[in-house]
């Protein structure tokens, strides 16, 4: 199947979006510049309200940028209607037409384009076949499970043969197990179609497992872009450090283990129990996860969470524990701005 043959680069240059006026003005996206490469699976990750969906909608053409430029390929598309941008979008709620059958839903974009009936049916069947929907063509969305509806939404996007697929949290309405299964299917779909995907999520597990690169947003600003491993190993800011990773990175008080204008960060797995360690805490809680144990400790200077292997001589609640830091795994951030410092 020749879907996704025409791939494209998406480029955002200083894109800004504000809502409201005067004292009520809210900046949802603040001067974001981002390059999405050909064939890439780019994740837009961030907490609720960080502007990731607004950014995606500006690429789609559902929102007009207040400032900056959006490029798809070499073409500036700020004033171009969505239907002419060669994109397809999968919404969080799937946006399936409840009164149409699965076949009619998938065929709809082709019908709008004036494709004849026989050709529409053939292409819809092809797209349905890619996603295992051929047995459900005559059903309506109300007769489908959540996972099946999501695949219909994907099939409707695929049938457009777009240059860029835009997905706005498509897994958030699924239960945890189905989400895990569908993640793998989406990664496989990206590989098969060989297209450019831009995927919005607030779930770092989705971001880390699916994306070729992750763009992390906070408060409308772009915090960092990099591969999942890169943003995990070298977070560009204290926000990224704490947003990526479960449990989150331990951030010490400014001045602890360094100068007073620096805040030191240590991942839980890099805290090593050592009798003469530099850091100390009293064990308040122990979480046994089977393959590992989390020690939640407290001290006058703050909390520390350590990830340790399950073994016989674990401390108990109330014990005082000392920690050392594994070599090369101290992260330093400016105490005021939160930006990473060397």
């Amino acid at each position: 199947m020749a879907y996704g043959a025409a791939v494209a680069q998406v480029r955002l240059e200083q894109v800004t979006k504000t809502f409201g006026e005067g004292a009520d003005e809210v900046t949802a996206v603040d001067h974001v510049s981002l390059d999405v490469r050909d064939h890439e699976f780019m994740i837009l990750l961030g907490p609720s309200g960080c502007g990731k969906s607004t950014l995606l909608r500006m690429v789609a053409g559902l929102e007009d940028p207040t400032g900056g430029d959006v490029f798809i390929g070499d073409r500036r598309v700020n004033d171009v209607e969505p239907k002419l941008r060669d994109i397809a979008m999968v919404f969080q709620s799937y946006a399936l037409y409840p009164h149409k059958t699965v076949a009619a839903n998938i065929e709809f974009p082709l019908k709008v384009r004036g494709v004849d009936k026989a050709e529409r049916a053939a292409q819809a069947l092809k797209a349905a076949d890619v996603l295992g929907l051929t047995d459900y063509m005559k059903r309506k969305p109300g007769q489908l499970s959540g996972g099946q509806r999501q695949r219909v939404a994907l099939a409707r996007a695929i049938v457009r043969d777009p240059a860029v697929f835009l997905m706005d949290e498509p897994l958030s309405n699924l239960d945890a197990k189905l989400r895990g299964d569908t993640r793998a299917e989406l990664v496989e779909l990206h590989r098969r179609l060989d297209s450019t995907f831009i995927y919005v999520t607030h779930d770092q597990v989705e971001a880390m497992t699916m994306g070729s690169r992750v763009a992390i947003l906070n408060g409308g600003r772009l915090e960092q872009v990099g591969t999942p491993q890169d943003v995990y190993d070298h977070p560009a800011s204290a926000f990224v450090a704490q947003f990526i990773g479960t449990p989150p990175m331990n951030l010490l008080q400014p001045g602890q283990m360094g100068s007073s204008d620096v805040q030191v960060g240590i991942r839980p797995e890099h805290l090593l129990i050592a009798a003469d360690g530099a850091l100390e805490g009293t064990v308040r809680q122990i979480e046994h996860l089977g393959h590992e144990v989390l020690l939640l400790t407290e001290s006058p200077t703050g909390r520390l969470t350590a990830r340790v292997a399950p073994h016989a001589d674990l401390p108990v609640v109330g014990d005082t524990v000392r920690f050392d830091v594994a070599d090369g795994h101290l992260h330093r951030f400016d105490a005021v701005t939160g930006v990473r410092v060397p």
């Binding site: 209607e81 037409y97 409840p98 974009p109 709008v112």
Partner: protein
């Protein structure tokens, strides 16, 4: 809780209906002082009578004129007013205002507007519609029923507008956005998203407006008195039963029979609409 509802239903709906059906079996003298039980033949006689058939035709044509026009206007205005524009609230208030207008007030307003001597509409449009002035829409047998329909459409516009506006709020915005991204223009989004998602509201309004049209009495009483004579071109079934010059005003048996027949006809119209539109009405998202 259910018991109370059943009692109320029984007292205010079922008992009167049963009594009306029983009373429809009666045939009474001119003064209504002596009645005999004629069984179901009274119903048959009433239904087959020329007066009932004429009134049925008038009611039917009134429904044909008011229901589609009321729906189209109501849906059209609701869709137009469903925009986030400054000042749109004023228009929504104006469009929905007729819901607070009684049939009597609406009819009197139109009575004055259509008066050949003083009516504004008569003055403004008489060049294009001479009948406005001579003899006047309400006095011409060919135009009296459409004039009554006009008043009725105007009076029920507010109700239609409110119900459709409420229906529009439940249409998910993402359906429109998805259609827009797929390249659907305004008209295609209206036919593929708005209308199907409004179908339950549209069916509801259609049934209500049809029932209302079949039960039209106030407008006829105030605008035309069932006339103009001798054609009685605006005598609806309710007016035949209860009108000022009703020929069956003293015969409680005939009146009850006609009323029960009206109920059955309304039921048939409603069932036809439900069955007819069943496949096109979509419930739920």
């Amino acid at each position: 809780m259910l018991g109370t509802s059943l009692v109320l239903l029984g007292v205010w709906t079922i008992y009167p209906l049963v009594r009306a059906i029983q009373t429809g079996h009666l045939s009474c003298n001119q003064t209504g002082t002596r009645c005999i039980d004629t069984g179901w033949s009274t119903y048959f006689d009433v239904f087959m009578s020329q007066q009932f058939q004429d009134a049925l035709k008038v009611s039917f044509w009134l429904a044909v004129m008011t229901v589609p026009a009321g729906l189209i206007l109501g849906v059209g205005l609701a869709v137009l007013a469903d925009k986030h524009l400054r000042g749109i609230g004023f228009f929504r208030t104006v469009f929905s205002s007729t819901v607070a207008t009684s049939v009597a007030v609406a009819s009197l307003v139109w009575f004055v507007l259509l008066q050949p001597e003083i009516g504004v509409l008569s003055d403004l449009f008489s060049n294009w519609v001479p009948a406005l002035k001579n003899p006047g829409l309400l006095r011409d047998p060919g135009t009296a029923l459409p004039a009554v329909a006009l008043s009725s459409i105007w009076a029920s516009l507010g109700f239609t507008f409110i119900v459709i506006t409420a229906g529009l709020q439940s249409v998910p915005k993402e359906l429109y956005e998805s259609a827009y991204v797929d390249g659907a223009g305004s008209f295609r989004r209206f036919t593929n998203v708005t209308l199907p998602m409004l179908s339950p509201s549209i069916l509801f309004i259609s049934v209500v407006l049809t029932t209302r049209a079949l039960q039209t009495y106030g407008e006829v009483a105030l605008l035309t008195g069932g006339g103009p004579e001798p054609e009685k071109s605006t005598t609806t079934i309710p007016y035949l039963i209860y009108g000022r010059n009703s020929i069956i005003s003293q015969d409680i048996g005939l009146k009850s029979a006609a009323a029960v027949l009206l109920f059955l006809i309304s039921l048939v119209f409603a069932l036809v609409q439900f069955r007819g539109f069943e496949k096109r009405v979509h419930y739920g998202n």
